[in-house]
Amino acid sequence: MILYTLKRFALTIPVAIGVSVVCFLLVHIAPGDPLTAVLPTDASAELQAQMRSLYGFDKPLPVQYGLWIWRVLHGDLGQSIATGRPVVSEVFNAVINSIIVAAAATSIGFLAGGILGIVAGYYQNTWIDRLASIISSLGVSVPHYWLGIVLVIIFSVQLGWLPATGGGPGGSGNRSLDWAYLQFLVLPAITMSVIPMGIIARSVRALVGEILTQDFVQALAAKGLTDRKVFQHVLKNAAPTAFAVMGLQLGYLLGGSILIETVFSWPGTGFLLNAAIFQRDLPLLQGTILVLAMFFVILNLLVDLLQSLIDPRVQRS
């Protein structure tokens, strides 16, 4: 296990370095002088010179990367052009908001998708199964940003049950565990849950179907165990894979939430990215993407390690 953990870590390092290189290059693939990409257009000549030497834009690319990654490792992601504040603090707050909504969405998606998948897998090739597979394939192919708008139209505009947009009462962004705050979370979380729901439902259906046809389950049934007992065995065997799928989906949602956060004006990383794009705030764009991508890489690693802890067979593949 320790050896596997070490191996898995060692495999993650080159990927992490590669990801950082891609993020670093984002500023350089932007059209024009990279200096204009990291400075406001009205920056003074003095500031320009200062930034040029700080970023090392006059040096070759590998050196620039070295300087940049050194600052990043010390927690310096540069300054936002639009607000002038350090990117790190902007991103930190946004990441927490994003995690809240992504975690809520994953939980809903896992629950709904899990139930859907179990039912479909248990009653394979019946009308319930077909219905479940239609629901899950709708969930995968719906443009979720549109679904968000539709939900707003129904539940906010028409019924008036929930707030349409925003990250909390009065736009304060203060998080609390009461309805005044949580009601803002409902629609974005449900909208976002549709994607993992479809995917989890599909994997669980396949898993349950596969486990049910395995010899040991058939043997249990033959031994006269009740359906409930057999079902418990099925759940126990399907859980590790289902959790792994869920973990990865959480990562995808964190990275892919930009559209939904825009629809709901949810003050997360997606919203931050949107702002960065509109104001061509490249340091903010770069910092946010680096943090999100690294989060995803680490999440991948954790999911793998957890899975191998639960199911030792994973280590061998």
Binding site: L3, L6, K7, A10
Partner: protein, 356 residues
């Protein structure tokens, strides 16, 4: 190395025969192939699999040489090395007196040596029709499509498949026996002199297997072929071959005249292997498995004689010195066993061979 008299003289005078009947068709000298398992390049220590470890033998013109041994003994690797599908680490392959790759170019060698694989389905491209599969070889060597097609139809008829019914079919529409006949036809498309049959009938049903074996016997006559017949099925080998080679963990344990090796084996491994065959005599049933345990891992082969950990005869010297192939007492075979010239005969069949 002693050469034995070729058992059956060539039935036709072949213009390609340069060395004459005494010149072996194929001479293998010191063939070696170690596989370096990739493992994990950062942590795990590299391990070396000694798949084929320094073997030398000859195949005479017109004979059928059988190769037997447990799985993992290097039979298939040897076949693939001969075809140059994998590159040998060491060793010479001499075809009819000419060194392959030096005196005779590889492409020419490959026209004269062809191979039939075990898995009849995996060895046929599922997207090509039967006639396309058979005519592929001649076509890439520049033959016109119409002529290659005619040849493929002729070959189909020769392997017992009606060309009008089978030429336009796809592999998945055929049975295993039919597919293996196609594979044989494809191998014959070059009119080769040596055919390597790597477990070619092992995956077939017994009744189909017999039909294909008879077909192979007939084709051997018709085409003047020489066979290298690899199989783990000793009954089939006994039926097919003129000479037989017993392999154990990448090296040759015993080689010689088929009937002699089967009736009076010398090497303890050969004896154990033969004793493990289900007995056909109801008065003397096989009581105990004379070979127990799996063959040792070729990654870490035992020192000295490869077989000594499983050998009932093994003495201290066996774990020290690796035996060379030596002519046996009855002169009709060669065996690699230090004890073969002792006065105490090696018991046959061995009573029990301890496992690992």
């Amino acid at each position: 190395m002693t050469h034995f008299e070729p058992i059956s003289p060539l039935s036709v005078l072949d213009p390609r025969d340069r060395g004459g009947p005494v010149q072996p068709l194929l001479t293998i000298q010191g063939l070696k192939k170690y596989f370096h398992s990739a493992g994990n390049s950062w942590f795990g220590a590299q391990s070396v699999v000694r798949a084929v470890d320094d073997i030398s033998f000859v195949i005479h013109k017109g004979e059928t040489l059988g190769v037997v041994g447990e799985s993992g003994c290097g039979k298939s690797t040897t076949a693939r090395l001969l075809m140059h599908l994998i590159k040998p680490d060491q060793g010479e392959i001499i075809f009819d007196g000419e060194k392959v790759g030096i005196d005779i170019p590889l492409t020419e060698f490959r026209r004269q040596v062809q191979m039939v694989f075990q898995d009849s389905y995996a060895s046929l491209n599922p997207r090509l029709t039967i006639e396309d599969t058979i005519s592929f070889g001649p076509r890439i060597h520049g033959m016109y499509e119409s002529k290659a097609r005619l040849i493929s139809h002729d070959l189909l008829a020769r392997v017992g498949l009606d060309p009008s019914r089978f030429a336009g079919r796809y592999p998945h529409e055929l049975s295993g026996g039919q597919r293996q006949r196609i594979n044989i036809a494809r191998a014959l498309a070059f009119n080769p002199r040596l055919l390597i049959l790597d477990e070619a009938v092992s995956a077939l049903d017994k009744s189909v297997e017999a039909q294909v074996l008879n077909l192979l016997q007939d084709l051997k006559e018709d085409f003047g072929l020489t066979y290298l017949f690899i199989s783990h099925d000793l009954n089939v080998v006994r039926y097919m071959v003129d000479r037989v080679m017993v392999m154990y963990l990448g090296s040759i344990a015993e080689i010689g005249d088929g009937e002699t090796v089967f009736s009076t084996p010398v090497h303890p491994y050969t004896k154990a292997l033969l004793a493990s065959m289900p007995s056909m005599d109801p008065d003397q049933p096989t009581r105990e498995a004379p070979l127990s345990g799996d063959p040792p891992n070729p990654i870490n082969p035992p020192s000295g004689c490869r077989f000594h950990p499983r050998c009932i005869m093994a003495e201290a010297a066996c774990s020290q010195k690796r035996p060379a192939l030596e002519t046996t007492r009855h002169k009709k075979s060669m065996a690699a066993c230090l004890l073969q010239n002792r006065d105490t005969p090696i018991p046959f069949p061995p009573i029990k061979v301890s496992g690992q």
